[in-house]
């Protein structure tokens, strides 16, 4: 591990913030934790749920990205620094920051079934549509009926990516797979090198 772990916070709104880490945090796909109980055995997720006053409700870890959802009105600057400390401590500890995904059982089986349907929708409809703008949307995982996606190509860093996500993909999911409870974009949009529409004004 290099000496300096760089973390960039990218708040989406007051409840949700993405933290881009300069080193991989978890290489084994996506892990989503919806409660402190689920975080047992994953030191990073445990530490984030334990941040005082943050009332964290969800932690999603994938590659270099850590997405944190909180209920408290505390501003991200205060909570974000504690999240940063938790990430650095977990990486410095020399053991996996996040445990591997457990074998399928219960809701995981339902998620697997949802995954198949969402994947089919992405293959047959979503990706052919975004491909017209040079984009691609990867289905990363479905956990507790929440769909996790990563945008690539012309979608990554595109000024209209949030419109594509909310008005496009989410709307299609509501129509075709209404059991889906939400959608989370785990894309690092700052790294897009060829966005379809780069924001161009001040």
């Amino acid at each position: 591990m290099s000496a300096e772990v760089r973390i960039t916070a990218e708040p989406i709104d007051n409840g949700r913030c993405k933290f881009l880490v300069s080193e991989p945090v978890h290489a084994g796909g996506v892990r989503r934790f919806a409660s402190p109980d689920e975080a047992q055995g994953s030191p990073l997720a445990q530490a984030i749920f334990a941040i005082p006053g943050a009332d964290v409700s969800e932690v999603i870890v994938s590659g270099n990205l850590v997405t944190v959802v909180k209920r408290s009105p505390a501003p991200w600057p205060a909570v974000g620094k504690a999240v940063g400390q938790a990430i650095r401590a977990a990486l410095a500890a020399g053991q996996p920051a996040v445990a591997s995904k457990p074998a399928a059982a219960g809701s995981a089986t339902a998620d697997d079934a949802l995954y198949e349907r969402v994947a089919d929708l992405f293959d047959s409809q979503v990706n052919p549509m975004v491909a017209r703008h040079g984009g691609r949307v990867e289905l990363i995982d479905v956990q507790d009926a929440v769909v996790m996606v990563r945008m690539a190509g012309g979608c990554q860093g595109c000024g209209m990516a949030d419109v594509t996500l909310r008005q496009g993909i989410e709307a299609m999911l509501q129509q075709h797979v209404p059991e889906v409870k939400g959608i989370v974009d785990i894309t690092d949009h700052t790294a897009g090198s060829n966005p379809y529409f780069a924001a161009a004004k001040k």
Binding site: T8, H133, A161, D162, G168, K201, K202
Partner: protein, 425 residues
């Protein structure tokens, strides 16, 4: 089961705006249905014909007709524009559909710096002396008749693009030719008559502030007054730091607010957000520019309002939520800005070149009071300094107990950033 009633907002989002996430997520938080209109079709428009529509932003009257056709099938209850161009389109649609908004004439006057000057001067609002010149004119001849120092500016470009100060006739000629070259670029030359003119106005010395406000039935509520602590004396006018609350004396702040209100009245603006640049000196407040739109770029992140009382307890409200609530006629919470001082730095362009790497973001982020460092330019994109450029490589946000502390934090964070560029081919 019947779905609960939810008003539908038409959100005008140009495809190249920075404002998408802030407005789309604000609408989601408020639980309103959104139709996003853009000037280019989304690939999902057929799949979600209620949520996406393409409008002709280049022709407000045509866009209004398109919106009327859309509204037959999907009734609209409010409209929000996010920048100068779409504010004119929004006015046309609001008029067509009877939605809350401004008249096209008022917004068009605000959009054009010469028309704006004429209306303000006629109404007795303090503005610099000004003259309209055509870019086909001989600058050598014009230079001899100008007053100095003066500022030359195109009529419509945003973010101070093409705005240049001249202190003497040689400076005037150089500035004029530089603006001429900008306006002759193909994408601007075809924009219409405004791109063939330059406004020449007296340079007004003094402290410059930005006024962020919300107009309701013609009455301006000042939401925030931002100091601009870096002197904007030219030759170019790239903005850097905005900090609120203002450290100007209370009487000066009152004069500035009164000046902005007078400008709103003179232009005939009745509803919605405004963003004004005002200078203050020993002769009072001078209206430099007023736009019928909210603050640009990512800068709205510097504003939070202590107004959200929800079922889960108190929470902050963003500027975008206030604007959407206002547009839909929803109840507005108190419009008090948060207690803390807040500021944003529009990171200066370090020089011309292709951006290869930005170093020190983590160190900048670690400066006490700094909340966020956002690099908005992508690697491989061109950095273009002012006056030809108009795009900042990123933004730094800070909050603290005092404006002085916030300003110091922004400067300290900026000092830790290093931009690596290479010459363009």
């Amino acid at each position: 089961m019947l779905r609960p009633y939810s008003p539908r907002l038409l959100l005008l989002l140009p495809t190249v705006t920075y404002r998408t996430v802030a407005f789309v997520e604000a609408a989601r938080r408020l639980g309103v249905d959104v139709t996003v209109a853009s000037e280019r079709p989304s690939t999902f428009e057929r799949a979600n014909p209620t949520g996406l529509v393409t409008l002709d932003f280049a022709d407000p009257a045509h866009a209004a007709a398109q919106a009327r056709a859309f509204a037959y099938a999907h009734p609209l209850h409010g409209i929000v524009a996010v920048d100068d161009d779409t504010s004119v389109v929004a006015a046309a649609i609001a008029q067509e559909l009877g939605l809350r908004g401004n008249s096209v004439a008022a917004v068009a006057a605000a959009r054009d710096k010469h028309q704006q000057r004429q209306l303000l001067a006629a109404a007795g609002v303090a503005v610099p002396r000004f003259e309209l010149r055509t870019i086909a004119a001989d600058p050598e001849r014009l230079a001899h008749g100008a007053y100095y120092p003066c500022v030359l500016k195109p009529l419509r470009l945003s973010a101070s693009r093409g705005v240049v100060r001249a202190n003497d006739p040689p400076g005037f000629v150089a500035a004029f030719r530089r603006i001429q070259a900008i306006l002759e670029q193909p994408e601007l030359a075809e924009c219409g008559e405004w791109a063939r003119h330059v406004l020449v106005e007296e340079f007004v010395p003094g402290r410059e502030v930005a006024v962020e406000g919300l107009v309701t039935r013609g009455s301006l509520q000042v939401l925030a007054l931002f100091d601009k602590p870096d002197p904007l004396d030219g030759p170019f006018f790239e903005e850097t730091i905005y900090v609120t609350p203002s450290r100007l004396a209370r009487t000066a702040q009152q004069e500035i607010a009164a000046c902005a209100q007078a400008a709103v009245r003179a232009l005939g603006l009745r509803e919605g957000p405004i963003h004004a640049e005002v200078r203050h000196n020993d002769r009072g407040a001078w209206l430099i520019e007023l736009a019928a739109r909210p603050i640009g770029g990512r800068c709205s992140g510097a504003l939070r309002f202590e107004s959200g009382e929800t079922g889960n307890g108190r929470r902050d409200t963003s500027l975008e939520e206030l604007i959407i609530r206002h547009a839909l006629g929803m109840e507005l919470p108190t419009l008090e800005r948060e207690h803390q001082a807040s500021g944003v730095m529009m990171i200066p362009v370090p020089g011309a070149g292709v951006l290869r790497e930005v170093r020190g973001v983590d160190a900048a982020q670690a400066v006490p009071l700094v909340e966020e460092v956002v690099i908005t330019m992508h690697h491989g994109q061109m950095l273009v300094p002012w006056p030809e450029g108009s795009r900042y490589p990123g933004f730094i946000f800070a909050r603290g107990e005092t404006s002085e502390a916030v300003e110091a934090a922004l400067r300290a964070a900026h000092a830790r950033l290093e931009f690596l560029t290479e010459p363009a081919d």
